[in-house]
């Protein structure tokens, strides 16, 4: 909870130190992406998966705007992810528009839909909000299943050209680099949001809505802003899944997608700005190397998640911090 979260705004006020730390982290991120991109050069599967993971990390970040930012569990966030995946698919297959235009349309539509949905549901909190949000994604899924423009149960596939400008996303390495660049850009945006007035208002609301209100913060409006900010990010993530999945079906709006993102955010640490991204990597790449019977794998993975949640409810980084604290403690003890 300390590191970047509370450190950033405070440091910003003091001057350069926090943004320096931020720049350092960004450089680290770029270096990691380059290393991964070229290091995995010979393995198109891992590169594709890494590209998809970047998209999934963006979704986890979007979910974390609600989870870490407001303290709400947006189970229905998969609806915005789905809108983001359907928009370019429909733009390409029905209107002959390029992929990029479809992505932009998806993000705008997601933001436009988020406003009335937020207006309807953000008066609710806690389990009520979570479950109603889940329900709305269920309605969206039934809609996608019953309409013709969405391709009904079959979904949409056979896309013309998945590319961003000159970058052809059907090439695994390009896909990964584009997705990683977008992920870093989203991280930068969220970092700035967190340091802004709006970010501080969100933090105040999360810690205590009543106190925030008494400080003159319009709690409902700030919550609405958070949802309208996170929806297009989720849509972007959905659009980035297309080069990997090659098809959009109503199943894209399954609540399981949100649950995965929630797991990624919680395992990586909701208080850390890059926590969800780290969690997403752990969550998608790790199971690929567990060579077990599929059902045993589910069993082992579920038990691991439970173990982490029992041992470190704040995310894995809590374990690191505890270990580091113990280590420095031990050192101090030895010193004299």
């Amino acid at each position: 909870m300390t590191d970047i979260t509370t450190g950033a705004p405070a440091g910003r006020a003091r001057g350069g130190s926090a943004s320096l730390k931020g720049a350092g982290l960004l450089a680290l991120g770029i270096a990691a992406a380059l290393a991964a991109g070229f290091g995995l050069g010979g393995d198109p599967f891992l590169l594709n998966l890494a590209g998809y993971t970047c998209g999934f990390a963006i979704f986890a970040l979007s979910v974390n705007v609600m989870l870490g930012g407001l303290g709400e569990v947006p189970l229905g966030h998969c609806m915005f992810y789905g809108i983001g995946a359907y928009a370019p698919a429909m733009a390409m297959n029905h209107a002959g528009l390029p992929y990029e235009a479809g992505v932009a349309i998806g993000m705008v539509v997601a933001a436009l839909i988020a406003a009335p949905i937020g207006w309807l549901t953000l008066h609710l909190t806690g389990a009520y909000f979570s479950i109603v949000s889940w329900g709305l994604s269920g309605v969206a899924m039934v809609t996608a299943l019953n309409l013709d423009v969405t391709g009904g149960p079959l979904g949409l596939f056979g896309f013309s050209r998945l590319a961003v400008g000159p970058f052809d996303l059907s090439r695994p390495q390009t896909y990964f680099f584009v997705a990683a660049a977008i992920l870093l850009a989203v991280l930068v945006v969220l970092y700035h949001v967190r340091g802004s007035r709006f970010g501080r208002a969100m933090e105040a609301i999360r810690q205590g809505p009543h106190l925030a209100r008494s400080l003159g913060i319009d709690v409902f409006r700030e919550r609405l802003k958070a949802l309208v900010l996170s929806a297009p990010i989720a849509a972007l993530a959905g659009a980035l899944s297309l080069p990997y999945t090659q098809i959009v079906t109503p199943e894209v709006m399954s609540v399981l997608r949100t649950v995965d993102a929630l797991l990624a955010a919680l395992i990586g640490g909701v208080g850390l700005i890059f926590g969800p991204a780290v969690g997403a990597v752990i969550f998608t790449i790790l199971p690929q190397f567990l060579d077990l019977d599929p059902n045993v794998k589910v069993l082992v993975f579920s038990l691991l998640i439970i173990l982490v949640m029992v041992a470190a409810p704040g995310g894995l980084h809590q374990l690191w911090k505890a270990a580091a604290a113990r280590l420095s403690h031990a050192r101090k003890g030895d010193a004299p």
Binding site: N146, L154, T245, E251
Partner: protein, 378 residues
């Protein structure tokens, strides 16, 4: 020093190049099946068939001058995303030489977008016509298409059983859509009336009201289109509880013991059809059923059979073509030959669709289906 290195390299080269080493190098085939999730039962049945086929091929000395078949399984979890992930992993990480994938039609379509023009893909069971209508040169299908199966079955329903009006209920899936389209066509040409079509969502928990609605139309035949065993059993129980219909039918290729047993007798007498039947089997089929039952302690079902055939056909075509990775050649070989399977002679058309030699009309009897009628497929 240089010389020694060269010698070592040469020794290594000899070691690598020995025919024995090459012969031991297995041909890897990627198997994508639902091993977890709601359709895990199909994955279990398919795996039994595939393992048996591989064991038989290897016991007979393998293919391509003694190379063994190695099956690599991945789980598609009953979801398109996971099907795609499984196929990509098998192709690029496991470097398999062919993909056998296809139970659910939507998932198979997603998978075929990845395999198109890149690797040999054999779809054992998924039926939707859209799969093989894409014009993928290296995509083949063992099961009949939904429209081939449906045309025979729907003609049988309208002409032989000749109801006045049919009421239809089915899950909202691609398979259902294909079957319904065909039904509308066939019924349109007959004097039979389509009383009502109810398409329900996969999350539906109860069917009583749907059945009440369908009964109220006065239709004398109910026709259920659903491929999930548990739901199939539940629907027929509820149909029975509301007094049933004079004539009752269930979609082609979806009725197995896994649905009939939990239905606890509620499916007795329901008419369905498939490309496989255990009753009255003779020759190769009887031997296949005996071997399978002996090895696994259970009788094979259609899923086990088509996956078994898929492995056999892939291995046979590779062997005959003399290559495990020249897909154009293997595909030509597949189309240009007739393949002997437990069902009889199987051949593939230009779209990669198999023509099953026989088609059987079934009637649910006891805990399995009984044979009602046999058609030869033109």
């Amino acid at each position: 020093m240089k010389l020694r290195a060269k010698a070592a390299l040469a020794a290594l080269a000899v070691l690598v190049a020995t025919p024995a080493a090459q012969a031991a190098d297995p041909v890897k085939i990627g198997m994508v099946l639902p091993l977890t999730g709601p359709t895990a039962g199909y994955g279990k049945d398919g795996k039994l068939g595939a393992d048996m086929a591989a064991a038989e091929i290897n016991a007979a000395g393998g293919i391509l001058d003694g190379r063994e078949i190695e099956l690599v399984y991945e789980d598609e979890k009953g979801a398109p995303q996971d099907g795609v992930a499984a196929v990509q992993k098998l192709m690029t990480r496991e470097r398999v030489q062919a993909i056998i994938a296809g139970m659910n039609s939507s998932i198979t379509l997603a998978e075929s977008a990845i395999t198109k023009n890149r690797i040999l893909h054999v779809n054992p069971a998924a039926q939707a016509d859209a799969i093989t209508a894409q014009g993928s040169p290296w995509l083949f299908q063992i099961n009949n298409t939904a429209s081939t199966n449906a045309t025979i079955f729907h003609t049988y329903l309208t002409e032989q059983m000749a109801p006045k009006a049919i009421a239809v209920m089915g899950e909202n899936t691609e398979f259902n859509k294909a079957v319904l389209e065909n039904l509308r066509e066939i019924v349109g040409e007959s004097s039979v009336e389509l009383a009502e079509i109810a398409t329900y969502d996969g999350a539906t928990t109860d069917f009583t009201s749907i059945i009440t609605r369908l009964k109220s139309t006065g239709a004398d035949m109910i026709y259920v289109i659903d491929a999930y065993p548990a739901r199939t059993a539940q629907i027929w129980k509820q149909i029975r509880q509301q007094g049933g219909f004079p004539m009752e039918a269930h979609a082609v290729g979806t009725v197995q013991r896994s649905a009939i047993v939990p239905a606890e007798g509620a499916m007795e007498g329901v008419i369905t059809a498939d490309i496989f039947i255990a009753e009255g089997a003779t020759g190769d089929m009887a031997r296949f059923i005996d071997r399978f039952t002996e090895q696994n302690g259970v009788a094979p079902n259609k899923v086990s059979l088509v996956v078994y055939e898929a492995v056999k056909v892939v291995a046979g075509a590779m062997d005959k073509a003399g290559s495990a990775d020249d897909y154009a050649l293997i595909s030509d070989t597949l189309r240009g030959n007739v393949w002997t399977t437990p069902r009889g002679a199987l051949s593939f058309d230009d779209n990669g669709r198999a023509k099953a030699p026989y088609f059987y009309i079934h009637k649910v009897t006891g805990e399995d289906v009984g044979l009602l009628d046999t058609f030869e497929v033109e």
